[in-house]
């Protein structure tokens, strides 16, 4: 009997010890001393960062964190004008040479001064094949980087490139410290930059904590002592936490934004995003190899009802360049292919040899409700011209695979149109564009966007992209649908926060009352 009881107690003790071992290493408790004056901003996000290395990680959930820790040579101001960041100014002796003068006395978070050597090292790391950097292709025309002094550096390009400075504003074109890379192998788990916030701790699937950089070279910034990012994948949980004040700020979907409209002590801020939704065709496959079929589908698409139903009316009809890019985007609503015209659509289908329509499959990602809703609307709308579709919903990892291999006939998704028209036009639709997965190739179009890339004169460049957009709409390798808004819910008492299309989460100036 004793033996049996002994065994039972042994199990009990094992259980207790195991529980006792669950120590506090996952703790993120704020234990700073003077909590009465400490300015802490709590932000909830739906995704976990996918690593912190700015040169290796394009995921937005990572960018929002490392963009506070690292800085680049130049950045955008609130009007999307390029201004200096680590470079105080720059000159251009000729079309292919840029000389940057660096701000002096900038220190990395490890205390060492940042110099031109670090700039050189960072770009060499980006361009090094072994880094497998996602932004290497942005700087593939950099021929030579030369350090002219501690605070001066020269970039030589192989040919004139109007996108060079814009590409430098990318959060991934960050200046990193060589010794930190060498010590850690890469920067996925550490972050030592020159930015306003220092990286403190990352607890997987729970929190990322940043603290104020006391030595920041701009006086008075940042205003917060600490920023904590909470990963809360469930929207209901984020809504409940912002309602009760457990968190100060969170991103929202359009549907939830309307739920919070009348909530006390919470402000919902909406701003136009740089994204648009699209229908992508595999143009190598019948019937989509015929532009008339694609045009017919464009004429059968009611974009306004997509904006109304999928996005609660808070989305703008968009072309290949999102409307929040300002002057660069053409007013697509006047375009003929954007006027719903079922008669004309049927005529075009008949001319292409499909008088009775055809059947096909729309593939989209089940992960995003807006994509599925969009696909369902298209299914109804296209039915009216005899195009019968079946919707195939796949999981995100498989969706990306399908996208990159063009293994679907029609794909519904969302694209970021970037901060320079070159990305929206060249990158996605040039015959050799890295993200042209549509088998689309048109030599006239290629010539136009190549010219756009090398034309430095802004006015001329705009004209070129107007032509390119019209041409692309007419060829319709994709149907561009609508550009949604992004929403952020902010608690009362959080001051100084203004989201912009190109920078939705700037918190340098934010403080709490």
């Amino acid at each position: 009997m004793f033996k049996k009881h002994f065994l039972f107690f042994l199990l009990l003790i094992v259980t207790l010890v195991a529980t006792a071992c669950s120590d506090d290493s996952a703790s993120t408790e704020e234990n700073a001393g003077d909590s009465s004056v400490e300015q802490v901003l709590k932000i909830a996000n739906d995704q976990e960062p996918a690593g912190l290395d700015p040169h290796k990680t394009p995921a937005h959930s990572s960018v929002r964190v490392y963009s506070k820790v690292y800085e680049g040579l130049v950045t955008f101001d609130e009007n999307m004008k390029i201004v200096g960041q680590l470079a105080k100014d720059w000159e251009q002796p000729n079309d292919t040479t840029y000389i940057f003068n660096l701000v002096e006395g900038v220190k990395f978070h490890n205390g060492r001064e940042m110099t031109a050597e670090d700039v050189k090292y960072s770009f060499e790391r980006i361009l090094n094949k072994e880094t497998a950097s996602h932004i290497a292709s942005y700087f593939s025309n950099v021929k030579n980087i030369e350090v002219l002094g501690d605070y001066q550096i020269k970039f030589e390009l192989t040919e004139p490139n109007a996108t060079f400075l814009t590409n430098l504003t990318n959060s991934s074109a960050a200046i990193v410290a060589k010794e930190v890379v060498e010590e850690n192998g890469d920067l996925q788990q550490v972050a030592v930059g020159t930015g306003p916030f220092k990286f403190k701790e990352w607890v997987p699937d729970s929190t990322v904590t940043l603290v104020k950089n006391e030595d920041y070279y701009i006086d008075g910034l940042p205003k917060l002592d600490k920023v904590v990012y909470y990963t809360m994948k469930e929207e209901a949980a984020r809504l409940s936490a912002i309602r009760t004040g457990e968190i100060d700020l969170t991103t929202l979907t359009a549907k939830s934004a309307s739920l919070l409209k009348d909530q006390e002590a919470v402000n919902v801020k909406g701003y136009q995003s740089l994204e648009y939704s699209y229908v992508g065709f595999n143009v190598a496959k019948e019937p989509f190899n015929d532009p008339k079929v694609r045009q017919a589908l464009s004429l059968a698409t009611d974009r306004q009802s997509i904006a109304d139903i999928v996005w609660d009316g808070d989305a703008i009809i968009s072309g290949p360049i999102a409307p929040s890019m300002g002057d660069w985007a053409i007013d697509v609503e006047k375009e003929e292919l954007y006027q719903r015209n079922l008669e004309k659509a049927k005529e075009l289908l008949a001319e292409a040899g499909y008088p009775d329509g055809f059947s096909t499959v729309i593939t989209t990602a089940s992960t995003y409700a807006d994509m599925v809703d969009t696909a369902q609307l298209l299914q109804q709308q296209w039915k009216e011209i005899g195009v019968d579709t079946e919707i195939q919903q796949i999981e995100w990892g498989e969706y990306i695979d399908t996208w990159s291999n063009t293994s679907a006939d029609i794909l519904v998704g969302r694209n970021g149109s970037g901060t320079d028209p070159d990305r929206a036009m060249n990158y996605f639709f040039h015959t050799d564009g890295s993200a042209n997965v549509w088998n689309f190739s048109n030599s006239e179009y290629d010539a136009i966007v190549e010219k756009g890339k090398s034309t430095v004169d802004q006015e001329k460049r705009k004209e070129i992209y107007v032509e390119a957009q019209k041409k692309l709409l007419n060829l319709s390798p994709n149907l561009f649908l609508v550009s949604p808004k992004n929403y952020v819910a902010v608690r009362d008492g959080v001051e100084g926060y203004t989201p912009y299309p190109h920078n939705g989460e700037d918190i340098d100036e934010v403080y709490k009352k």
Binding site: L7, L11, A18, T19, C21, S22, D23, D24, S25, A26, S27, T28, E29, K42, E48, P49, A50, G51, D53, K56, T57, P58, A59, K129, E130, A132, H134, I135, A136, S137, G185, D186, Q188, Q189, V203, P204, D205, S206, T207, V228, M232, K233, E234, A236, A237, S240, A241, R243, T244, E246, T367, W396, G397, E398, I400, D401, T402, N415, S434, A435
Partner: protein
């Protein structure tokens, strides 16, 4: 007994070997790979190739497998392809949370289910019995995620309360930890309780019909003694089986509940890694879960012989 335990532990190896091969192959059959999910629309053929090389995905399959399993045998589960985080420490860290959540829910479910099940069996076909059966049916049939979402909404809208954000370990701050864990534990506990309640009721009813109970009653024993000293103990075997299965399943990660309550447990790790095609993490985590499941089963088997000495393992 001890030889039995040792034999069962030795049995672990073929089981885990089978699981390791299975999950390795499944992850390679699923479309998509980690290099593509990392780079997304920024992917270039050169960068993809370099990443695949870095992750060893360009090697022949058997070589990939032996590299991985060789590491596992020496305690090195590798690094996450996506975040560079070491796999085994991450799994163990998250297991603590999942372990705590599982046992809190199990405790809650026992406190509800076993007493109610006994009462229902004692007062068979009374109103109390009907009440218990309805409650247990609800527990079994209301999905976790629905109950969880409703509780979150009601607390936020009616009581302006939401659980604290950011997970804290039990020993760092027991009160905050319990405040975070209690709602998820109640949600899981009530749904576990349904099944346990039903099993307790029917198992006790079954025992009460047996001859030895009649003998005990004939000897004039009090009903309390009949139930607690004789019936319950004999009825425990099927109840324990259910509890063991439930705990084994929960320890493998309570994916939905962890997601809804933002708890960094094992379930979230597996889910995120699957969507990102982070093969190394999925493989390590599944192997670990299989190990835990087998161990729980072993534990249950040992408990059987403690509860019923007639069961012996030789």
């Amino acid at each position: 007994m001890y030889t039995y335990i040792i034999r069962r532990i030795l049995m672990l190896f073929p089981v885990l070997f089978g699981v390791s091969i299975f999950i390795f192959i499944v992850m390679r059959i699923v479309p998509g790979d980690v290099a593509m999910t990392i780079l997304g629309t920024d992917a270039t053929p050169e960068a993809l190739e370099q990443l695949r090389k870095d992750f060893g995905l360009n090697l022949p399959l058997y070589e990939q497998y032996f590299n991985w399993i060789g590491g596992v045998l020496t305690g090195d589960f590798g690094e996450s392809m996506r975040t560079g985080q070491e796999v085994l420490p991450d799994i163990l860290n998250r297991f603590k949370l999942t372990f705590e959540l599982t046992f809190l829910s199990a405790l809650i479910s026992w406190f509800i289910a076993i007493p109610l099940g006994i009462i229902a069996a004692m007062k068979r076909n009374s109103n109390v019995d009907f009440g218990v059966r309805i409650i247990s049916l609800l527990g079994v049939s209301v999905p976790n995620f629905a109950l969880a979402t409703v509780i979150i909404l009601i607390l936020a809208l009616a009581f302006s309360y939401s659980p604290p954000v950011g997970y804290v370990g039990f020993f760092a701050d027991p009160l905050k930890n319990l405040e975070i864990m209690i709602i998820p534990a109640v949600v899981l506990g009530t749904s576990m309780a349904g099944a346990v309640m039903r099993m307790t009721r029917s198992s006790i009813l079954e025992i009460l019909r047996q001859d030895f109970i009649r003998t005990i009653r004939a000897k004039g024993a009090k009903e309390r003694i009949v139930i607690f000293q004789h019936a319950l103990r004999n009825a425990m075997i099927p109840i324990l089986t259910i509890i063991g299965l439930q705990i084994g399943t929960l320890l493998g990660g309570t994916v939905i509940i962890e997601q809804i309550f933002s708890l960094p447990g094992l379930g979230q790790l597996v889910l995120t890694s699957i969507t990102q095609r982070d093969f190394i993490v999925v493989q390590g985590a599944v192997l670990f879960i299989a190990f835990v499941f087998v161990m729980i089963n072993l534990l249950v088997d040992i408990l059987y012989s403690y509860l019923d000495p007639r069961i012996s393992y030789k």
